[in-house]
């Protein structure tokens, strides 16, 4: 069985909580964004409370938990955006 490697970009508070702006996950079955998020939660339990209000992007387009992932895709996970004026 092939092991898939997925690189995940993290931003803002999520980046700080995990302590890294990029993590590489290894799993033998990764099909969707949900699989990645489950793996991330298993490896970094501190992110758990975050789940309901996170955003996902795949190859720089918004994605959701059911979006399918291919090898080499650029996945990012981040809180709701807050740029612009304050």
């Amino acid at each position: 069985m092939r092991i898939m490697k997925i690189k995940v970009l993290l931003f803002a508070r999520l980046r700080e909580i995990v302590g890294s702006e990029m993590v590489e996950l290894h799993r033998n079955e990764i099909f969707t964004v949900r699989d990645v998020w489950d793996t991330l939660q298993a490896e970094f339990p501190q992110v758990e409370g975050f789940g309901k209000s996170l955003l996902f992007s795949l190859n720089q387009e918004f994605a959701d938990l059911n979006t399918r992932i291919e090898d080499g895709d650029e996945l990012a996970i981040f809180p709701p955006v807050s740029g612009g004026d304050n």
């Binding site: 931003f11 955003l55 981040f78 807050s82």
Partner: protein, 153 residues
């Protein structure tokens, strides 16, 4: 200082680390067909609900942010008869009074320019992956936007 980078349609979508010069951006994108130029500057305020702000730090997912800023411009040009769009966002540490985002809309007619400029900043705050952290005298906090289910492509 270098001019802002205009793409093949003359519009500007840019992320910078230094001061935004909105007047320079406006001059650069304006054309003889313009009758109205509306600009928006988002400014670092000295307080949030009365609590004194020291400074802000902006962080972005730059490649995606640029893509989403271009998307906003493209949507605007589909919806309204605007001539040019310029959207520049700054990242890094910003002091009170500095401009975090500058938007310029040029059009033959003013109503269009106002509507498009307002749409640009409202949409930017929903879909452009940039975040800010606010530093107070006694702590710091990540500002998070309202969670909205965004359209997936």
């Amino acid at each position: 200082m270098r001019p802002y980078h205009q793409n093949e349609t003359g519009d500007v979508y840019q992320i910078v680390q230094d001061a935004i010069q909105l007047d320079k951006l406006a001059r650069q994108v304006s054309q003889p067909e313009d009758g109205a130029i509306v600009t928006f500057a988002g400014i670092v305020r000295n307080n949030t609900q009365g609590r004194r702000t020291l400074y802000l730090e902006y962080e972005g997912y730059e490649t995606m942010a640029l893509r989403k800023m271009s998307e906003i411009g493209a949507t605007i040009k589909q919806k309204w008869a605007v001539n040019q769009v310029g959207i520049v966002h700054r990242l890094g540490r910003l002091e009170i009074g500095e401009t975090s985002v500058g938007i310029v809309i040029t059009s033959a007619h003013r109503r269009i320019a106002f509507e498009a400029c307002h749409f640009a900043i409202d949409t930017l705050k929903k879909i452009v992956p940039i975040w800010k952290k606010e530093f107070f005298e006694d702590g710091e906090v990540w500002i998070e936007g309202d969670f909205t289910q965004l359209p997936t492509s």
